[in-house]
């Protein structure tokens, strides 16, 4: 398999001169994903879990097969450990209201969390404790241990890979530590799952969240893994059709998880597209993905070192999926505009990690993030455009 063959799978790149280095925000979609969603809407569009007719059964089967595919992808023991949500953000919010709100006082997070893993804990009025980061932005495990000692039986919720800096946390080790202190652990794998094999059993995660659109799947759908042992402790979050066994004016009997958390008509086409995207990743394989993306990171890092006045953050050479930087004396927003005008798409700004940016004393950064379809040439074009932008501003 070559990168050119992979690029041919993505209609976005056909006759398109844009250099897309913003897959951390959302990845492009292969044709096979679009095809299965189109098939649902054109050949067997029907609601799921309700109809007695064949179309409905067909749609239900595809939807439930998609759940099984997500379970397999994450190596969950059972498919009913997978809840479809609208994405990682809604998954975290679901856990905040359905599990954490009534069971925990303290929440422990890393210093690299996305706003979506900060705000729900503020809204639910939990005492939030932030693990110190070291100078290289790696997590300070000694501080983590001290927080666990001080606040045992807390809820620990950690990003596996930082969306802004590509730093990967030692999740397995941290989960083990947290469990020693009676904590439950949520892993935010929104950024990591497209770059590395995520195995919920190996990580021993209690909850894990992913978003399809960062995995070459459609927007508006994601998954929440909930370890089976915890299902009894989870409470209903939203009420509606499809989530209940029986409703009277006095009371409602809910279905078990996952259905309890899938009230209302679901994003059926999205789930089907999501599963196809995961299948697509499987056909490429993580060995190939990691080798290729490491080449891109190495090449970018090597070039970045030669950019005058560059400021990098953390262990850039070992970053996963994205690299963040600034140029001394130049605002990242200026670079974003000038790169865009040269048809290079990157993300500039605070990347929804304002507290992390505050701790670094910056407003934001330029972030380049990779998908499996990116080439060394893409990175070379980016650096040529960056050079021109810097020259224009500093002239």
């Amino acid at each position: 398999m070559s990168i050119n063959e992979i690029r041919d799978d993505f209609p976005f790149f056909k006759d398109n001169k844009l250099i897309y280095l913003d897959s951390g925000a959302t990845a492009q979609k292969p044709q096979v994903v679009l095809d299965v969603m189109h098939d649902y809407y054109t050949k067997y569009c029907a609601n799921i879990h309700r109809a007695a007719h064949g179309l409905g059964n067909h749609a239900t089967k595809e939807y439930e097969d998609a759940r099984q595919k997500v379970a397999d992808f994450l190596n969950a023991k059972k498919k009913d450990e997978i809840v479809f949500t609208s994405g990682a953000t809604s998954s975290i919010n679901l856990v905040a209201y359905g599990f954490v709100k009534d069971n925990f006082e303290h929440v422990i997070i890393s210093g690299l969390e996305h706003h979506s893993n900060i705000i729900p804990w503020q809204i639910t009025e939990k005492a939030l404790h932030v693990i110190d980061s070291k100078e290289d932005l790696s997590v300070d495990l000694e501080h983590f241990k001290s927080l666990l000692k001080k606040y045992p039986k807390s809820f620990v919720t950690l990003t596996q890979t930082s969306n802004a800096f590509g730093i990967t946390l030692p999740i397995k080790e941290m989960t083990e530590l947290a469990h020693q202190y009676g904590c439950k652990v949520l892993v935010d794998a929104a950024q990591s799952a497209v770059h590395t094999k995520v195995d919920v059993q190996d990580l021993d995660a209690d909850f894990l969240v992913i978003s399809a659109h960062k995995l070459y799947g459609p927007t508006g759908i994601g998954a929440l893994y909930i370890k089976k042992d915890l299902h009894e402790l989870c409470k209903a979050f939203q009420g509606g059709g499809g989530a209940i066994k029986e409703v009277t004016y006095k009371n409602t009997l809910f279905m078990p998880i996952p259905y309890m958390y899938e009230a209302g008509t679901q994003h059926i086409a999205g789930a089907i597209g999501f599963a196809k995207a995961l299948e697509y990743i499987d056909t490429i394989g993580f060995d190939f993905i990691q080798k290729h993306e490491k080449e891109l990171i190495d090449y970018a890092y090597e070039n970045l070192l030669h950019v005058k006045d560059v400021i990098t953050y953390g262990d850039t050479l070992n970053a996963t999926g994205n690299i963040s930087f600034n140029i001394q004396g130049i605002h990242h927003q200026d670079l974003g505009i000038l790169l865009d005008k040269q048809k290079v798409q990157v993300r500039v700004g605070h990347h929804c990690v304002q507290p992390t940016m505050q701790s670094l004393g910056v407003e934001g950064t330029v972030r380049i993030s990779f998908g499996v379809y990116n080439t060394v040439k893409d990175v070379a074009v980016f650096f040529a455009a960056l050079k021109r932008s810097i020259e224009m501003i500093k002239a």
Binding site: H331, Q333, I337, K341, Q342, E363, M392, I393
Partner: protein
């Protein structure tokens, strides 16, 4: 004001591509005055911009003058253009000037939708200050 807008329109038309337009805007940004730190305060800061932009208003003989600054050089250049258009006019003249006339500059072609929100915020600030000074 309209004449200044046309002058900028003519300037922009000299350029074949966006990068040249941006180079011109960057040059304007570099040429514009730099406000002293005391003036870069919350009162003078334009709300609604992605980056920080400040407008200081001076009144001389019934006319308003806008001094601008920003932490990004492109926004500084755009702010400078607005300051040149609206400075040296009375508050009533500013309020009577239809901001739709700025559309001939085609700034929407060279600024992103997010930036356009910031641009609108700058314009709103100019008209608000003119109203205050009536």
């Amino acid at each position: 004001m309209e004449e200044t807008v046309y002058n900028y329109k003519e300037d922009f038309e000299l350029f074949d591509d966006d990068m040249d337009k941006y180079e011109y805007i960057i040059d304007l940004g570099k040429k514009s005055v730099t406000l002293n730190e005391a003036d870069k305060n919350e009162t003078n800061k334009i709300k609604g911009c992605q980056s920080s932009v400040w407008f200081v208003v001076r009144k001389v003989d019934d006319k308003l003058f806008f001094d601008t600054d920003g932490d990004t050089v492109i926004v500084k250049g755009l702010a400078f253009i607005l300051a040149q258009i609206y400075s040296n006019h009375t508050p009533q003249e500013i309020l009577d000037f239809d901001r739709e006339k700025l559309k001939i500059l085609n700034l929407d072609e060279i600024i992103s939708p997010v930036r356009q929100n910031g641009f609108t915020s700058m314009l709103n600030a100019i008209y608000a200050r003119a109203k205050e000074e009536l």
